[in-house]
Each structure stands twice: as structure tokens, then as C-alpha cells.
Point group: C2
Chain length 132, copies 2
């Protein structure tokens, strides 16, 4: 089935650069793990494989979450918001680590008296996660 055949993909309000914002939430704990971006192909592959695939804006390529780290996200639920420009993924986070810093989630800096304070521990050294 080609990308063009997928009517449901046309319901997404893709940005001028062909992307949609994706909020990723742990399906068990409800912790918000990260925010990422998808293009049509990333969303299609996510649905086809049941594992999260994103578009890396910095590397300008598709990125299967966990391809290097093993921290794959098994997709449990996919939601679209009212104006179609944001998606919410509920996932099972393999390894319990979503962030490339080795933390549970990416939102580990809390604003405290007008300073960003790191409030979550590193669970695994990134050097161990991303070894050659």
C-alpha cells in the first residue's frame, strides 16, 4: 500500500515542511517521555510496525527509536488532536529510558526560581547505551 493510498494520513494537518508534532507518553505511568516529529512516512511506518519511527530534523532522516540504544517504543495508542497538528503516542518504553542522556524522560529540567534545575537522575551512562 503506497503512502498516497492512506486517506487517514491526509487528515493530519502537516506543516509546511511536512511534519507533525508528536507527544510521547508512557502507557503505564503516564509520564510524558519526550517530544518528537514525524513526516508521513514516519507515521506510516509507526503504524505498520507498531514501533515508533520519527523524523530527525537535525539529521534529516527517518529514525526508528531505539535503533542504536535498544530503547524501542512499542505503540499502544495513537491520537490526533482537534486541529490535526499534534499526535499523542502512548507507548511501552523498552528499557525504561527514553532520553539520549540516559534518563527516564527528556523533561528533566524544572524551572525553580527562574533557573532550570536538573531533577531526574541518569539511569544509564550514555556511553554504555551508545557503544560502538
Amino acid at each position: 500500500m503506497s503512502v498516497a493510498d492512506n486517506q487517514w494520513l491526509n487528515k493530519v494537518n502537516w506543516s509546511e515542511s511536512g511534519l507533525v508534532a508528536v507527544v510521547v507518553q508512557d502507557d503505564v505511568s503516564s509520564v510524558v517521555l519526550m517530544m518528537a516529529w514525524m513526516n508521513r512516512e514516519a507515521l506510516l511506518r509507526t503504524v505498520e510496525t507498531g514501533e515508533a519511527v520519527y523524523w530527525s530534523r537535525s539529521r534529516k532522516k527517518l529514525w526508528r527509536k531505539g535503533e542504536q540504544s535498544g530503547h524501542v517504543q512499542k505503540v499502544r495508542d495513537i491520537r490526533l488532536d482537534c486541529d490535526g497538528d499534534a499526535i499523542l503516542l502512548r507507548v511501552e518504553q523498552l528499557g525504561g529510558i527514553a532520553c539520549h542522556t540516559g534518563r527516564r524522560d527528556c523533561f528533566f529540567q524544572r524551572l525553580d526560581d527562574r533557573q532550570w534545575v536538573t531533577v531526574e537522575p541518569v539511569l544509564k551512562d550514555p556511553a554504555e547505551i551508545y557503544h560502538e
Copy 2:
């Protein structure tokens, strides 16, 4: 205090158009309520007032959430992600309705067999929420 004086604002990785993505989560239920955008002034006002202020990309102006509906968001926690381009707000959602459609949250369309299916009820008729 002027916007320029706020060093913590410079830690945010503002987009070319001066915005940062904001994920809004209910502080009690952990439901992801909506996604929105802030510019520097919106974030500053949010911090100063303790109530969520966003930048409306469609109307191109600041927008205090609830200014018309009364569905104000009292901010309980503000987090910044690892690469600084997404913020997570945990809020108390007054009225229990975050979406302009009158639903609890904006992510009410679930992908089910490649169709977006509305799975959350309207709690209050928008005509009642946004009366003149």
C-alpha cells in the same frame, strides 16, 4: 524586569520563528490535555502570573488560556526538555475542559484500523462556552 534580563529564557532553544512547543498535562490525572506554542513573552507571562499564556500561530497574538472560556490553566510545574525545544507544563485545568470543542482534552481522535475515531464526549457545548 524586562524580557532581555531573563537569563533562563535564553536557555530555551527558540525556533527560527521565536517559538517553543509546549505539552500541557493535567497535574492530577496526568492526562495530556493539549499542545500549544509559546514565544518569550508568553513564557515570561506564564511564569509571572502562574497561569498559562500561549502564542496563537493562527491569530498571531498572545492568548491567555481561558480568557474567553474561563478554562484557565493554573501552572504547577514547568519543565524543559534535553535539547531545549519543548516545554512540559503541568497544570490544574479549571472547569475540567481544555479543548475548544468542549472536551476534556484535545487528543480525542484515536487511530483505529486506519481511521480516526472520536472516542471522548463533549462535556459542554462550545456555544455555551464561547457565548457573547
